[in-house]
Symmetry: C2
Amino acid sequence: MSSEKYVVGVDFGTLSGRALLVRVSDGAEIASAVHEYKHAVLEDLLPKSGKKLPPDWALQVPSDYVDVLKITVPAVLTSSGIDPHDVIGIATDFTACTVLPVTEDGTPLSELPQFESNPHAYIKLWKHHAAQPHADRINELAHARAEKWISRYGGKISSEWEFAKALQVLEESPEIYEGMRYWIEAADWIVWQLSGSYVRNICTAGYKGIYQDGAYPSPEYLGALNPKFSDFVTTKLEHTLGDLGAKAGTLSAEAAQWTGLPEGIAVAVGNVDAHVTAAAANAVNPGQMIAIMGTSTCHVMVSDSLAEVPGMCGVVPGGIVTGKLGYEAGQSGVGDIFGWFANNYASDEVQEKAKAAGVDIHTYLSDLSALQPVGAHGLVALDWQSGNRSTLVDHQLSGLIVGMTLSTRPEEIYRAIVESTAFGARKIVETFNKSGVPVKEFIAAGGLIKNRFVMQIYADVLNMPITVIKSAQGPALGSAIHAAVAAGAYKDVIEAAASMGGVEDERFNPISQNAEAYNELFGHYDALYEEFGHNEMMHDLRRIRDKAISQELHHG
Amino acid sequence: MSSEKYVVGVDFGTLSGRALLVRVSDGAEIASAVHEYKHAVLEDLLPKSGKKLPPDWALQVPSDYVDVLKITVPAVLTSSGIDPHDVIGIATDFTACTVLPVTEDGTPLSELPQFESNPHAYIKLWKHHAAQPHADRINELAHARAEKWISRYGGKISSEWEFAKALQVLEESPEIYEGMRYWIEAADWIVWQLSGSYVRNICTAGYKGIYQDGAYPSPEYLGALNPKFSDFVTTKLEHTLGDLGAKAGTLSAEAAQWTGLPEGIAVAVGNVDAHVTAAAANAVNPGQMIAIMGTSTCHVMVSDSLAEVPGMCGVVPGGIVTGKLGYEAGQSGVGDIFGWFANNYASDEVQEKAKAAGVDIHTYLSDLSALQPVGAHGLVALDWQSGNRSTLVDHQLSGLIVGMTLSTRPEEIYRAIVESTAFGARKIVETFNKSGVPVKEFIAAGGLIKNRFVMQIYADVLNMPITVIKSAQGPALGSAIHAAVAAGAYKDVIEAAASMGGVEDERFNPISQNAEAYNELFGHYDALYEEFGHNEMMHDLRRIRDKAISQELHHG
C-alpha cells in the first residue's frame, strides 16, 4: 500500500454515468470511464410491454444506474493500475429531481412483474413534464393558503419536483401509489444500493422535496390538494436526512463485488450534479456564484444570510455545503437555444462555408460574428425560447428578437442569441445583488466553457471577470471531493474543495469598451424583459397556438 | 387596313422596359417584348469615367430608355404581324420618382462631354437614397412653417422625391444645378423623346413634385432651405401640366423611325407604373384599392372626397384618373422580406428537401406552413425589416418577431413573416377606413399574385375577398389603355378601363374561421405596432449599430 489515498466519484447524468478516480491529496484525476444507459430516456415506449407513453413523459430504468457502477468503477481501477485498497470512499451525484417508487427494501416497483407494464412504476426523470397540472394546483393552493415555504422557491414549485410527480402518480395510478413504500430520489436510491442504507440527502430534500425550516408541507395543505394525499409525507416521503459530505454508510459486500472496491469503505450521502460542482470549482464561499452552463444553466451560490430572491429555484440550509445557505437559480434555455438556431436557421451557404472552413456550425457562426463590434448587428433578443426559470418562473414565455433589417445575417442573429442568454445571466446576478445576496465572483462550468466566444461575451455583459473550472468532469470530481470528506480525509467540504477543486489560472476579463456598449443594450433587454415578462402577449400567443393545434387534432 | 385598331403601352421598370401591343376594342394582349437596360442600375461606378459612387446612390443612363423604344416596339409589330397603320397611339409608364437634369432642348446633362464624369449629371433612380439629409431638412422646415401641403403627404416628403434630390444636386454640384434648364421626371422625358413636347404629367407633379392646390412650395419656403433654392420652381421645375390619358403630342418623325409606328399618332401624357395599373385592373372607382405587390407594395385608390390619411404617400387630384382624387400608400418591404428570410435562414435540410421536391424554396416553405391552422405557430411579427412607409413613415424602424420556442420551424417563421405583411396591409386599409376614405374592394396586382398561399392569407387577414388583375403585364396594359384614351378611342380612362382592363373571375374569399383567428393575432400585431412604432427602441438600436460600425471603420 502506497501512502497516497484515492476516492471514486460517480456522476449520473441524463444519458450516461461517469466514474472518476481521484487522488485525495490534491484532486488529481487519475482515470475515468463512461457508460451509457442501455435504455437511455423512455419517451415513447416502455421496455418489454412496448406500452406507448403520453406526451411530455420521460422515464428511466433503475438497473441502468447499477450497470454504471458495475462497469465504470472496475474500469477506472483497472486503467489506473492502483491498488483498490488505496480507495477510501465513494460518492455519487445525480440529475434531480429524478424520482421513483420503491418497496420497503428499496426494490423499484418497475422491477415487480405485476407493475412492469405500468409507466408510473418507472423512474420519473427530471425532464418528465407531464405533472404540470398538478404543479399548478400545488402553487395555486400554496399561495391561497399563504404557505410560508412557497417564497423559498421564488414563488413556484416546479412540475419536475417530488410533490407534483407524486400527486400525478396518486391521481393517475392509485395502485402504484398504494404499492410504494417510499417515493425516493434516484440520488438517494443509488446510495442505498451502494451502502444498504436509505438516507435522504438534504440537498434534494430541500430543493425538490419542500423540506423547509425542519418540516414538509402540512397534512392539512396536502389534504386540500387531494384527501388521499394528506399522509403523503408521513407514509411515503420522510426519512432520515443526511448532510452533504456525511457518510451514509459503508460499502456493502454486494456493492464491493460489483465495483471491485473494498467492502466497508465510506459511502457519502447522495448529491445533485449542479450543486456538487461548486466543490469541484472550489467555489464554496459566500458570493461565489457558479454557473453550470450547458443546454440550460444552473446557478448555485452559498451565503451566510437568508434572503428571498425573486424567481430563485430555492434556498436550502446546507443545500450546497453544510453550515451555509445554498441558493439555486436557473436559465431554462441556453446552449439548446444556440443549437436550435444553428441547426435550423443557418442557410445552405453558411453550412457550406462552415464545412469548407473545417469547423462546426457553432464555431463558424461564432467566428464570423466575433468580427463585429458590440451592437453592430443592431439587435436585441429575449432568451425565452424554452421559457424563463429565473427570475420570472414562467415556462409559458417565448423568444423575441427585434432590430432585423434586410441586411441582417444569420451570424448576427446567432450572436444576439448568445448575448440574450448573457443578459439573462446578468438579470439573475442583479436580482441576487438587489436581494441582499451579492454575487462577488462568477465561475463557469459545464460544456459551454469550451466556447471562448461565449465566455468573453458573458464577461463583457456581466462586466465581471469569469473564471472557469479546471476539471473537465466537474460533477464527478465534486462527488470525489464529497467521498474524501465522508471518508474523513478532510474536516469538511470547504477544506477538501480548497485542496482538490479549483479553477483555471486564466480568466476572461471584461473589455471595458464592450462592457460599456453592452450596458446600453442590456437596458433594452431589460425593458423588453419587464414588458413581455408581465404583459400577456406571449401567454396569449401560446393559448392561440394550443387551441389551433387541438382543433387540428380533433378535426384534422 | 382591318377594322380593328391597336395601341402600344411601354412600361419602364427598374431593370428593363416592356412593350405590349393591345387591341383597342377589348384589351386583348397581342404581343409583348422586353429589353434589359444595358447599364442596369449604376450603384458602384459611372460608365466611361469609372468614377466611384458613394453609398446609397442609384443612377441610370437615359439612352437605355430610348433603346427600349427602338428594340421592343418594332419587335411587337413584327411578332404580331399587324399592319403598323392600325396602331393609333402609344403611351408609357415609369418608375417614380426617377428624375434627371436636362438642357432647354431636353438633352440629358450626362450626355454632354463636360459633365459625363459628374454623377449628378445622371438620372437619379427612385431608389437613390442619398438625399435623406435634404429630405429631413425639407420635412423639419415644412412642419416648422406649418406648410399646408405637408399633410397631403402623410406628414413626410420622401428622400426619393423631386425636391430632396434637387436640393442634393444644388448643394453637392452647383455646376450641374446651374447647367440644367429642367429637373424632369423620366416619365415626362420619355414622352418628350416620343413627341417632341415637354408636358409634366399631373401624377408625378402631384405625388413627387409637391404640386398641391395649383401651386408648388413657395419661394420663401425654398429660400429658407437654401437661398439659392428659392427660385427652383420657377427656373427649373414648373412647366405645362398634362392630365393622365390626355394627348401630350403626336409621334415625331424621329420616333416613328425608331419604333416603326406611323408618324403623327397620339402620344399620351406620361404616367407611373403603380398608378397606371389601376386602369389595367379596371379598379378606377372610389373604394377600389389596388395593391401592386412585389418586393414592396404600392396601394392606390381613387375617391371623390379629400381626406388627410395618416402616413399615406400622397393625395393628388387627377393623380390616378382625371376628375377624382388619387390616394397612394405603401409598404416598403414585402416580397423582399420573404426573400431575405428564405435565402438566408432556411437550413441545409430545408433547402435539400425543397430541391428533392423539385420546387423553389418559397413554394416549399409556403406548402409546409400552409398545412398548419392559423395561429398554430404561436408567432407574431412586425414587417419593418425595410422600415415602415404607411402608416408610420419611418424608415429607421426594423423587424421584430415574438413567440419562438425550441420547436419553432423555419416554415413557421416564414408564414409569420408573410402574415406580418398582410397585417401591415390591414393596418393601411383600416387607416383609410377611419379617415373617411373607405376601402370597399381589394384588388391585387404585381409579382406576388402568383403565390396563392400569400393571396389566401391576405384575404383571411383583411377579411375581404381579393380579386386579382387579369393581365400578367398590368403596367404595360395600363399604359395601352391610356394610349387608347389619348387617341380618342374612348371618352375617358374609366370607360377604356371597363372595356380593356379587368380582373380574374376567380377570387380569393376569406375563410371565416381563419379570419376570426387572424383577428386575434392582428390584435397583437397592432399592439406591437403601436408600441414599437412610437417607443424609441428601434431608433436607438440603429443608432447603436451605426455608432459601432463607424467606430470600426475609423479604428478597424
